[in-house]
């Protein structure tokens, strides 16, 4: 017989997420660092490619997602570094909270943070690269949410692993980057279509691909995460 669970997975998830967001809100250190890091990345792209505004505008979708991806490595690493202090993760698990709820809360928290980052970056892109949002904010928002979900689920599993390993700063990108290539490709393509118009109606298929990857990675993360943090 399994141990009695006082509250369900979803309730636990909400409680844990509230805790994480409260910690985040009180210091705001992580979001500040992410925003400035990602903005610096966007600026560096425009310096590295020179002042060719047409080139920058055409590739803006890709730059946005690379900036979010690089920032996500910081965000994901931090989300378990917080728990490593004073063995907080052990405390959370002894509460007792379901390990799957820990996964959901961390992954959803990271998604929320990355979406917030994306929302802050888009005006910067408009100013810096001169992009126009042709298809409207609804599609852009959907792309942002789907893309950030697809980064966060595998990212959470891998950052839980990497945070305990030697050379964790190298390990997380090494594991995560190849895995999210399809999601990155789909998100960048979808963003480009939203920014430049979609005469061939391809947006739906990229959303489909993103949703498919989300389904696979969230499912796998939900099933496998308890194994990652068990002792």
């Amino acid at each position: 017989m399994s141990a009695p669970r006082p509250i369900g997975v979803l309730r636990t998830t909400l409680v844990l997420m509230r805790k994480d967001l409260l910690i985040e809100w009180r210091t705001r250190a992580r979001l500040n660092a992410l925003v400035f890091f990602a903005m610096a990345t966007l600026l560096l792209f425009s310096f590295a490619l020179g002042p060719d505004t047409r080139l920058l505008e055409r590739n803006a979708g890709g730059y946005l997602w690379l900036a979010i991806l690089f920032a996500s490595v910081l965000s994901l690493g931090e989300s378990f570094r917080v728990e490593a202090e004073n063995a907080c993760l052990d405390g959370v698990r002894l509460a007792p909270s379901d390990a799957r709820a820990i996964f959901l809360s961390k992954a959803l928290g990271n998604t929320a943070l990355l979406v917030a980052l994306g929302v802050l970056l888009i005006p910067v892109m408009v100013a810096l690269f001169g992009v126009k949002i042709v298809l409207g904010l609804g599609d852009l928002g959907l792309t942002l949410v789907l893309g950030c979900l697809a980064l966060s689920a595998p990212g959470t599993v891998y950052s839980a692993i990497a945070s305990n390993a030697r050379a964790r700063d190298v390990l997380l990108p090494l594991l995560l980057f190849p895995l999210i290539v399809p999601s990155l490709l789909a998100a960048a393509k979808a963003t480009t279509l939203v920014l430049q118009g979609d005469p061939m109606h391809q947006l739906g298929s990229w959303f489909g691909l993103l949703s498919g990857f989300n389904l696979i990675y969230w499912g796998l993360g939900f099933l496998l995460f308890p194994k990652v943090i068990e002792d």
């Binding site: 390993a165 030697r166 090494l174 190849p178 990675y217 796998l220």
Partner: protein, 239 residues
């Protein structure tokens, strides 16, 4: 068993490799469109087949380990990932050499090639993880998890040519290929299979010996977290 593995099978592999090379290079007719360049197919295709086979084995070992931990499964997972990566790299390099005269480029962003590249990099990450974790039990569990997640790409590599019709041709079957070309491919495939089994078995024995040494003398291992290593002599995993 030992004699079969260390003497007979390597011999069989070498004989089949020589036979496959002879049949592929001299016996089979040149392709009507591609000419002699097509002969790379006799090694490129078996190499990629073996890579996918080994990585599928890695996936099976990873799943099995999570349900029933055992050092043998973990050692086989390590062996299959390394051997799969080796064959996959060879296959991609050969394909690249073939691509230059046929497609005009060594590399292109065709779905098959892209997914194969992602697969190789993902398993490089998997092997890096194995090197970066000192505790054998944690290493086994974590690499099993990473192995399962990375394996998502393996069927995508196989089906990519059917899902997105692009530059790389779809799988052929003996029905659609000249019998004179089927035989060299078949001989080569069995040669690569024998070679892969030899590599797998050797690498598995090495990995198992390493695991046993680590478990027998946990104090001798370098450790990144002294607090949790104290009681690791009492291993939960059955050998």
């Amino acid at each position: 068993m030992g004699k079969l593995l260390h003497r007979v099978l390597p011999g069989v592999a070498v004989v089949l490799l020589v036979a496959g090379a002879y049949l592929g290079l001299f016996w089979a007719p040149p392709d009507r469109e591609m000419g002699d360049v097509q002969r790379i197919m006799y090694v490129h295709v078996p190499a990629v087949w073996m890579a996918l086979l080994a990585l599928t084995l890695n996936f099976c070992c990873s799943v099995t380990y999570l349900f029933k931990p055992s050092w043998k499964t973990d050692a086989m997972a390590e062996a299959s990932a390394e051997v799969g990566l080796l064959f996959g790299t060879v296959g991609v390099l050969l394909g690249s050499i073939w691509g230059r005269p046929t497609w005009g480029v060594y590399w292109t962003w065709d779905p098959r090639i892209t997914t194969a590249a992602i697969m190789l990099v993902a398993y490089v990450g998997y092997l890096a993880l194995r090197r970066f974790v000192e505790d054998p039990e944690k290493r086994a569990v974590w690499s099993a998890v990473v192995g399962i997640i990375a394996a998502v790409d393996v069927p995508i590599v196989w089906f990519s040519v059917r899902w997105w019709r692009s530059l790389h041709q779809v799988q052929s079957s003996p029905k659609t290929v000249d019998p004179l070309m089927v035989l060299p491919l078949r001989v080569s495939a069995f040669a690569f299979l024998a070679l892969m089994i030899v590599f797998l078995a050797r690498r598995y024995l090495i990995a198992l010996a390493e695991r046993n040494a680590e478990v027998a003398l946990p104090e001798a291992l370098p450790s990144d977290d002294p607090a949790t290593r104290g009681g690791s002599g009492a291993s939960k995993v059955v050998a």
